[in-house]
Amino acid sequence: MCATCGCSGHGSGTQIQFFVTGYDGDNAKIIEEKLLGLAGVLHVHIHAHDGETTINYDPAKTRLSEITAVFEQKGLQAAI
């Protein structure tokens, strides 16, 4: 992002990867949309077949616990 073009912005923040158990076709989409709705989450990429979930977010705007709570609320287990 901005750092790439040399103007000293935040860049893309922090990237974190989870391995999530319990995805099916529907809840993966719901999780993606719930995560995108968090203030600091910019990008979510989910491989539902193996649970790999990559999230780019700004820790100054969204705490890690808010992210993990999204998985918990849907009854999914997420490991880093």
Partner: protein
């Protein structure tokens, strides 16, 4: 190992942005940071906004461009005070640039300042300049995939304007998908569809802006 100092740079920008905002607040001015890609229709929307609001609100415009006064010349034609900032190739406006020019405006006489940022969906979203709200303009010719590809500005914006809808039927822009993605990114965002050529939606946009000015001025008067 040398540690990058990007946080310090942004920290100093944020401090200046806060000082700018205090100046705007003291004068009861609502400030909008208008962001969008080159060609999205920011200046056209601004012209329509001025025509619609200049009899009810005292307005000024700050134009950000890499080079040239082309946009400022258009705005000057609408008979409102306008200041051009040329960034000499810089891809966004920052708070210090705004601080350096606001003294040229008669702040005590203004209700609304619209700052048209440099045409860019990326960097301007990362730099506060003292605004009350950001608004993003996305023209439908840019494609419905842009909200997810450039998420930060859609997260930051209070209003997302989907512009040039008069030519929607000539494109494969999926309005439902775009609205869905924008709302996913920012559930609180206000989405307005506009055409500056046919005036569709301009009334909704100016109503939102007028309302935002009134809310701010009421809040300041109650202090």
């Amino acid at each position: 190992m040398e540690v990058p100092v990007m946080e310090n740079i942004l920290g100093s920008n944020d401090k200046q942005a806060l000082q700018n905002k205090e100046i705007f607040d003291r004068n009861g001015i609502f400030v909008l940071n208008l962001i969008g890609s080159p060609g999205s229709g920011k200046t056209s929307l601004l012209e329509k906004t001025i025509v619609s609001l200049k009899n009810s609100l005292k307005m000024a415009v700050i134009e950000g461009d890499l080079f040239t006064n082309k946009d400022a010349d258009r705005i000057a034609g609408c008979n409102v005070p306008v200041i051009q900032i040329n960034t000499s190739g810089g891809c966004h406006l920052d708070a210090m640039m705004i601080k350096n020019v606001i003294g040229k405006l008669n702040l005590a006489q203004l209700d609304l300042i619209i700052i048209e940022n440099v045409g860019n969906l990326v960097c301007p979203a990362e730099f506060n300049i003292g605004e009350d709200n950001k608004a993003v303009v996305l023209s439908i010719t840019e494609g419905d995939d842009k909200p997810l590809k450039y998420p930060l500005i859609f997260k930051e914006a209070a209003t997302a304007v989907l512009n040039k809808i008069d030519i929607l039927s000539f494109t494969n822009f999926d309005m439902k998908a775009a609205r869905h993605d924008i709302t996913c990114l920012n559930p609180a965002v206000n989405i307005i569809e506009t055409s500056c050529r046919t005036d569709i939606g301009i009334d909704k946009w100016t109503e939102w802006l007028k309302n935002a000015v009134q809310i701010k001025q009421k809040r300041i008067n109650e202090r």
